[in-house]
Symmetry: C2
Subunit: 656 residues, 2 copies
């Protein structure tokens, strides 16, 4: 999709509001669900422009307490719903367009994805509603706030219903696969007489879950969810999904909503939901609000206490202001003004917000990843550092240190780091055949960038453990990274691709040689020499320069195809990325990294970039040789934009 | 649920038609989806009374080519749908009540689950339809046949649409979890000019799948699906799910059906579907038929050839007759006539049909198992032999031999056998801590039952390999089974529970002792002695009698609680199944097996059965101590009915 068409396409559905730092979606029937991220890495939530999405504690894979049906129709259901019902006519709709999906000729909706919060406004049949969702800073619960206004000229009797669906098993793959077990472990009940919580609480428990935290202070968060509503007296509830939805119905037409009342069901096996019902009367022009709190932990203790402390509109207001101030201060640390407005708002607001979100969750939680990935992918997360250095240098340094302790003593890395469980010095090193070749080479981007941004030059001398055993200075970690590749070379003396280089999908064979990695190493040696010079380590400098000269010679000997650089030489001798192939003649990454690393001669640089430019004009004309295509094309984008940490998940700005 | 209430409940929804060997569901809004099984272990299909369900090749876990959304709302969608549309009014419905779900005041539906086929008849707005689904014997494809009759008094213009949804990845867990990968591998296209197939074919491929067969003759069945329609000219098609359903719609209101036409979409990533559209005109009283064939294998070769050979109504008729004859002959091999009609039809038709289905698929495919189980669970399958011996003695013997080769040389068993991949003598034995204690003890039910049914006494002398290494006669396998338990005893000299005894959920600790297993061993020793006597093996007989006497003494020493037998003694010394517990005082299984095995004295037998009877009057009053409850209650049923092989999955007779 070309840039012009892309912009035009986007503008059909919404716009960037830089003033409020919100993306405003002006019509709800977007081609895909557009998501926002709420909360922290401890208590996280995804919410779409139709209030779809899920919730999780620490891990989207193993801590999923609010359920989403992946790849269903529509793709973002269920979520955090408010249903509204006109109790005179029986007509009902939802505060987000979906799931009821009234005709858009009668239903107006605007969604504002802000920084850590989402607001969905709608108007239907004289009733305006505004639903606001957010997780207060540092808390393990979320607010759903609903404001309802009667804009018609007669009094209105309305029913309001909440709906969300709880996982039976917080381990999300098991929740969808092992029905023999998962359908018989959930319990739901309403606690209506609590000393410190007069409004009562829904309490949902799973009898068994993998413990997802070993911290005893976390108690039973891994088993319990609570949910309460304030602002109006409760008329009823359902904690059993089947009771609320009714037989042969869906989220678009729940029986309880159609009928105008819940059945006060207890969940006992099968599936649990969070349905709370209240009835309000609104005079013309009158507004009413209700506030829903939903969190993890034991209802009687954590839930009741939280409702007591946070269950007022004043407190909810305050928490939203704190949240906005927190995010806006991060976004305000570097402000760029150029004549190009789009560049400004990408650098100042939207790109940066995306980078911060990616920094938090890596690739582990989205509408695409359904429990398959868990934790921080190593190389992704090293890359992600770059995008957030100006905004959160201290957090970036902490993450960088965490990642440096994910390097094992031989210089390679463990592929995934789980921040809440990582134990440097005690992790199991991957088996020899499991190492990827590029993992630690990304440190040569992230570490100097951090030092240059902060001036914290002493960081190079900081001693950090390896993942498995031993320790070294950060400088030592960097040198080990290069040695790892230099010790693993193929028949042409170039670094082996090992299990994979950056392109996971291209199988070179373990001893196949990757030019992409060769260029990364070449560049790394150059950077190491510069750091060694500054640190006054002449022996290291000499070593790096010597190795670099040797590597340069080997690259010269076999990497140039005449008009561009090859991608790789397979274990079986196949040369990838040459004129001889019908598809996949030129791999963009090797051209770009040949230039970036300085390994290309000026003449080669000119020639290969020309070859790239010629082919970039043709969609898919370039290096799209290995399925899945999307992965490769994302890597093209990574290589050509300044920031390799752009989020590849389904985020709100995937479409920009 | 009591027996009387159960029957009354059932009769609200349908009845047994013994004449036609069909279960007739007279209203479609059953509380749960009621499934039938079509096809063979090679090409299998599940279809519900609302035409929901899925399809698979060899393995429901790894060969899933037709997709179902587990535990969704409703629980059986999608499936194999026909949509009908009145092209004058635009009104549309489905040939099964769901997924469109017209009001039942206007829509009549009768579903007949027969032996290997299902017929769904419906009538709506003057149009009668009859959809018949089956897999011809020995074939890798399925028929969907639709007969439409105009019962109104005016000519009618109708559109007919098919719909099913293809898995992107035949490995079903991956299909639902790994969306990064699975959303970009499917391709769908319509081949409209095939020499030997004038009507054209839909061709669906996945670029990558785990190979599920190493048999080269299977070719690319693991990647390709084809689908064709005959009987009316094609008006259009969709192979892209989103194109057919439309944005923010579901199976109940597909855009293509509402609009009255497909968009001839090609699937290229995302999700693929099988939508074929044709238009027919029916005069008052006139009927028309269309025939859909859907199968696996390369469309151009296998699909076109199959359509040419099988794509006529005459051939489809013939195949249905052959299929019925095949099943009915199996059901007719043992006919029981008693004054109790319900006992008759259970023994002669429905119980037996269920046992045959269970024999085929074990517990690996249902609406409950979503890829978690794959292959034949060892002990389940040994038990399942009992239910089918009279109907299919030869197949039962083959299965029994397969299972005997799942026993490892130490006498224990591997927990799951994959019939298409099992390599006796080359399987890896479980680790010591992975063995369950009861697995091979079920041979003492299955093997003598086979021999007694067939008179094949020489079977005891047949030499069969062990799973891991070595071989022995069947008699030798039986003796090894007992030695396995006798070599693994706890502090009271009783057999250890190991990883689990029959009750997976009760954790005794590995060295805890199970009375249930003790009674099985006691009984096994008695049976072995009898066989040894008949085989003239006095040493074996003496060994078995000696071991039995020793075991009897140990049982006497600690197993009797005063009014009943305990269940077990945990590794930590806890005695389970005593008066001292508030819940779980009496375990039914140990009482029943104490009596069956002859280990109970006549007095103990009387006393413990009395205790059981007293508690059976109270629902859940007995031994329901361990979640999931359902598992335990199924085991109660197993213990009290004569046939331990009753299918525990969601089948059509779960509710009887």
């Amino acid at each position: 999709m070309g840039e012009g068409r892309n912009k035009e396409f986007l503008m059909q559905y919404g716009y960037f509001d830089d003033q409020n730092k919100e993306y405003v979606i002006t019509r709800p029937d977007t081609p895909q669900s557009w998501s926002n991220y709420l909360g922290s890495t401890a208590y996280g939530a995804i919410i779409t422009n139709n209030a779809g999405g899920y919730g999780f504690y620490q891990s989207g894979a193993r801590g999923r307490f609010l359920r989403l049906r992946f790849n269903s129709i529509p793709t973002d259901q269920p979520g955090r719903y408010f249903y509204l019902r006109d109790d005179e006519s029986g007509d009902y709709w939802s505060a987000s367009w979906q799931p009821v999906g009234k005709p858009l000729s009668e239903y107006d909706s605007v969604c504002r994805h802000g920084t850590g919060y989402t607001v969905i406004e709608s108007k239907y049949n004289g009733i305006r509603s505004q639903a606001t969702y957010y997780v207060p800073l540092g808390q393990n619960f979320e607010y759903w706030r609903l404001n309802v206004t009667n804009e018609s000229d007669r009094p209105r009797e309305l029913s309001l219903f909440t709906y969300c669906e709880f996982s039976n098993n917080w381990e999300t793959t098991q929740d969808g696969v092992n029905l023999q077990y998962s359908l018989f472990i959930v319990r739901g009940e309403y606690l209506d007489r609590l000393d410190n919580c007069p409004s009562g609480l829904l309490r949902i428990t799973s009898q068994d879950n993998l413990p997802i935290s070993t911290d005893p202070a976390q108690g039973d968060v891994g088993r319990c969810v609570w949910m309460g509503l304030t602002g109006a007296p409760l008329s009823g509830y359902d904690s059993d999904r089947a009771a609320f939805l009714g037989p042969y119905r869906g989220y678009h037409n729940p029986l309880a909503v159609e009928r105008g009342g819940c059945s006060n069901s207890k969940a006992y096996g099968d599936n649990a939901c969070g349905a709370l019902h209240c009835q309000i009367t609104l005079q013309p022009g009158e507004s009413r609000q209700v506030l829903v709190l939903l969190g993890i932990g034991e209802a009687r203790a954590v839930g009741a206490q939280t409702l007591q402390t946070f269950g007022s509109f004043e407190r909810a207001d305050l928490e939203l202001e704190k949240l906005k101030a927190h995010w806006h201060s991060q976004l305000g640390r570097l402000v760029v003004e150029t004549p190009d407005e789009e560049l400004n708002h990408t650098l100042n607001v939207w790109g940066l917000y995306n980078c911060l979100i990616t920094f938090n969750w890596s690739r582990a939680t989205s509408l695409v990843y359904n429990g398959e990935r868990d934790g921080l992918g190593f190389r992704d997360s090293v890359q992600d550092i770059l995008g957030v250095l100006t905004a959160i240098p201290e957090a970036a340094r902490q993450r960088l240190e965490l990642l440096l302790t994910g390097q094992v003593q031989n210089g390679g890395a463990i592929p995934v780091i789980r921040p809440f469980e990582h134990r440097p010095g005690h992790e199991k090193a991957p088996a020899p055949e499991e190492f990827r070749s590029d993992d630690c080479l990304w440190f040569f981007d992230a570490v100097p960038a951090y030092v240059n941004e902060t001036g914290d030059f002493d960081f190079y001398n900081k001693i950090l453990p390896y993942a498995d055993q031993g320790e070294d200075t950060v400088f030592g970690h960097l040198r080990r990274a290069l040695e790892f590749n230099l010790e693993r070379t193929g028949r042409n003396g170039l670094p082996c691709g090992l299990l994979a280089d950056w392109n996971d999908c291209l199988k070179l064979g373990f001893h196949g040689e990757s030019l992409f990695v060769a260029f990364q190493v070449y560049r790394g040696l150059k950077i190491l020499a510069e750091i060694a010079q500054a640190l006054n380590r002449p022996a290291d400098k000499a070593w790096a320069e010597r190795e670099r000269a040797k590597l340069e010679e080997r690259i010269r000997a076999c990497a140039w195809d005449g008009e561009w650089f090859i991608w790789a030489i397979g274990e079986d001798g196949t040369v990838y990325g040459t004129k001889d192939f019908e598809e996949g003649q030129i791999y963009l990454n090797t051209q770009v990294w040949a230039v970036i690393s300085g390994a290309a001669t000026p003449e080669q640089a000119q020639t290969c970039m020309k070859a790239v430019r010629e082919r970039l004009a043709t969609p898919y004309g370039l290096m799209l040789c290995a399925p899945p295509f999307v992965k490769t094309s994302i890597e093209v984008m990574r290589a050509v934009v300044f920031n390799p940490g752009v989020k590849e998940n389904a985020g709100i700005f995937n479409h920009t």
